[in-house]
Structure formats: structure tokens, C-alpha cells
């Protein structure tokens, strides 16, 4: 029950995009059609599911005060370790995608390696550290939930952007401006999930 609650909460309430604006760069750039958006969304979800438990274990057995060496707090190394884990995992995912799904690889282009610097992944790790989850299971559920939340947001936006391609938008708002406003409105809609508890 606890896990289910965390899962729903991380998808809808603590949504990476609508509540924290994490991963906006690729979110804005890759949301022009649903198919690519779906691909990138799955890649991000996968990365979060892989890296958050890894980083959780690192945090618990290496970084926390007295975990590795008695009386030494390695907390300040957190950022560097997290980013190293994320960068190497990205490299791995990139190789796998290139081998098994070349079409997806081509359509994602530069954004696949850029997942390494996607704020959503590092943000997930940092929030995981801040929220002090009870076990590796909770951390994994959190990773899966926030990944799916991100996927939901980018696919939703891509679908809307496909539809508005032909509408008559004031010239100065075209492109980024209207995308921001749509995201904002979607965010307000997601606010209505606030306070849901399973």
C-alpha cells in the first residue's frame, strides 16, 4: 500500500515536469510528434528505474556519515558520484538502443546522449536522497513513478502540439511561448490531483 501510494504520488502530484520543471530542455525540443516523444519518455523512464536504485545504494553504503569509514561524512561527493553513475548508465542505454532499435536511435538523435545531463535524472537522484526512502524497493518505485509521470507529460504535450500545428496563434507566441502556456495549463490540471491519498 505504501508503495502504491508513493507510485501514484510520484506520477501525478510530484510530477517531474509540472511540479519541478525537471528535464524541460529535452521536453520542449522533442515534443513535436508523439512517436519520438514516446521513445524519449521510455528512455528517461528506463534511466530513472536503473539509476535511482543504484544511487540509493551508493548513498546508503558509501556517502552517508560513517557508512564507509567510521566518522567520515562523504556527503559532499554525492553530486560527482551520482553524475558518474548516470553518465555511464546513459552510455550503456545508448549502446543497447543503437543495437536493438536503430530507428528509434536515429529519431532521438542528440537527445539520447543528452539524457546524461537531463535534469530529471539527476533531480530524481537528489530528491531520492532528500526524501530518505526506507529501502531500495521504495527508491525503485519512486524512479518508475517519476519516469512514467515524465512520459505522460511529454506524450500529452506532443499530442497537443500535433493538433495545434494548424491553429492561428499570435506570431510572437508561436513555438516556445505557446508550448510554455500549454504546459502551464496542463500543470494546473495536474494540481487537481493534489491531496489524493490511497
Amino acid at each position: 500500500m505504501e508503495h502504491l501510494n508513493l507510485f501514484v504520488k510520484s506520477i501525478f502530484i510530484d510530477n517531474m515536469i509540472f511540479a519541478y520543471f525537471l528535464g524541460m530542455c529535452s521536453y520542449l525540443a522533442v515534443s513535436k510528434n508523439v512517436k519520438t516523444a514516446l521513445g524519449l519518455g521510455s528512455a528517461v523512464t528506463f534511466m530513472l528505474v536503473v539509476t535511482i536504485p543504484l544511487n540509493y545504494l551508493l548513498d546508503k553504503y558509501v556517502l552517508q556519515e560513517g557508512a564507509l569509514i567510521e566518522g567520515v561524512d562523504l556527503g559532499f561527493l554525492g553530486l560527482i558520484l551520482f553524475i558518474a553513475v548516470i553518465a555511464s548508465a546513459t552510455q550503456l542505454v545508448e549502446m543497447v538502443v543503437e543495437k536493438f532499435a536503430p530507428a528509434l536511435y536515429n529519431s532521438l538523435g542528440i537527445f539520447l546522449p543528452l539524457i546524461a545531463v537531463n535534469c530529471a535524472i539527476l533531480g530524481g537522484a537528489l530528491f531520492m536522497q532528500q526524501r530518505e526512502f526506507g529501502g531500495v524497493g521504495e527508491a525503485t518505485v519512486y524512479g518508475l513513478g517519476s519516469g512514467l509521470g515524465w512520459l505522460l507529460a511529454i506524450v500529452g504535450l506532443a499530442a497537443i502540439r500535433e493538433k495545434i500545428a494548424y491553429s492561428n496563434i499570435p506570431p510572437a507566441l508561436r513555438g516556445v511561448g505557446i508550448t510554455f502556456i500549454i504546459t502551464g495549463l496542463m500543470g494546473i490540471a495536474f494540481m487537481s490531483f493534489l491531496g489524493i491519498k490511497l
Binding site: 559532499f76 507566441l173 513555438g175
Partner: protein, 209 residues
């Protein structure tokens, strides 16, 4: 010191080539810290410091870094600088660092940093790189401050935590707009800024879509 080109490098990012409004980089952390002015300014200053320093360091090393591992080198340099900023904030202004929570750490993955390091520092001398870093950092900070100004003024009726909307307004039925404090309004405020900015600079408008 400030030749014509260097001046362009320093001042273009403020409006014409603004990293947030025009290049759409670094939105990730830009909007989450804009509920109040104070954290927004601290965040802007941190980005300026990290951006200027990392630009100089990468520019100094640009001839020795092998191209294949440059991203990792950049990440390490930036991460080390961000850790220093983080420790500094925790030591000297603990409250603000609590408010910024994870977003100081997220400077590492701020697209502006990677973008500037790749596009400028790798191919320019240290001094222009420094100016470029400061300029882009300032451009980022300006947007943050404008968004935070409106959100704090309309959302809480204060600026820097001091009340600016006089008490008699409240007595006559004026109310703070609670919506402005919610995260989505940061996006809509930013969209309005982009709208104004692009209406004034017609050549920035996107014509297809």
C-alpha cells in the same frame, strides 16, 4: 580589455541572444526557484559564478582535452564548482540553501552550462570565455528576477519579504493571487515575457508552427 567583440560577447546574451528566452536553455532550474525574489537572485548569482569559472577552466584546458571524453571532463569541472557553491551556501546562508533544496545541485545539468562550454569555451581564449560566462549568467538571472518579481508581488504582496501592497488595499477587499505561487504559473509568466520579448524583436519569431 573590452574590445567591440568582447562587448558583444558580454551584452548580447542579455536580450538579443538571451539563453532562457531565445535559446531556451536552462528552463529546468530557472522556474522552480522563482516563487520569491531572494532565492531567485541567489540562484542567479550561483549560476553566474559557476558558468564564468567553468568557462575559464575549460577554455584554459581546451587544447589538452581529447574530444572523445570532453563531456565527462566538462561534467567533472562543473560538478566540482557546483559542490563548492553548495558548501558555500550551506555555510553562509543556510536558509536560502534550504529553499533552493536540490536546485543548486541541478546547476550541473543546467543546459546553459553545457551549451556555453561546448559552443564557446572550447574554441575561445579565457578572457572572452569569462565575459561570455558572465553575460549568459546575467541573462539567465534577469529572466529569473523578472519572473520572481511578478510572482512574489502578485502572489504574496511582498518584495524581498517586505510588504509592498499597503494594508488598506487588503482592507478594501484586495486579495493575493494564490495561483501565482503554484508552479505552473512560473511557466505562464515566462511565456508572457517571451511574448513581450518577441513582439519587440520581430526577427526572433518562429514562422512555421
Amino acid at each position: 580589455m573590452l574590445s567591440k567583440r568582447n562587448k558583444e560577447v558580454l551584452f548580447n546574451p542579455l536580450s538579443k541572444d538571451n539563453p532562457v528566452l531565445v535559446q531556451i536553455l536552462g528552463i529546468c532550474s530557472a522556474l522552480a526557484v522563482t516563487v520569491k525574489l531572494e532565492p531567485a537572485i541567489v540562484m542567479g548569482l550561483s549560476v553566474i559564478v559557476v558558468l564564468a569559472c567553468s568557462n575559464v577552466i575549460i577554455s584554459l584546458m581546451r587544447k589538452t582535452i581529447p574530444t572523445s571524453i570532453r563531456i565527462i571532463v566538462q561534467l567533472v569541472v562543473v560538478a566540482a564548482l557546483v559542490i563548492m557553491v553548495q558548501q558555500f551556501l550551506q555555510a553562509f546562508s543556510y536558509d536560502v540553501s534550504k529553499q533552493l533544496s536540490v536546485f543548486v545541485g541541478l546547476i550541473i545539468t543546467n543546459c546553459i552550462l553545457m551549451g556555453r562550454l561546448e559552443a564557446f569555451a572550447l574554441s575561445n581564449k579565457p578572457w572572452p570565455s569569462f565575459l561570455d560566462g558572465v553575460g549568459n549568467g546575467l541573462g539567465y538571472m534577469i529572466v529569473l528576477v523578472i519572473v520572481a518579481f511578478f510572482r512574489e508581488l502578485l502572489g504574496s504582496g511582498t518584495l524581498f519579504g517586505l510588504q509592498v501592497i499597503p494594508q488598506w488595499c487588503y482592507e478594501h477587499g484586495y486579495m493575493n493571487n494564490g495561483l501565482m505561487i503554484l508552479p505552473p504559473m512560473a511557466l505562464i509568466t515566462a511565456a508572457c515575457i517571451i511574448w513581450v520579448h518577441r513582439s519587440r524583436n520581430k526577427d526572433l519569431q518562429e514562422n512555421n508552427k
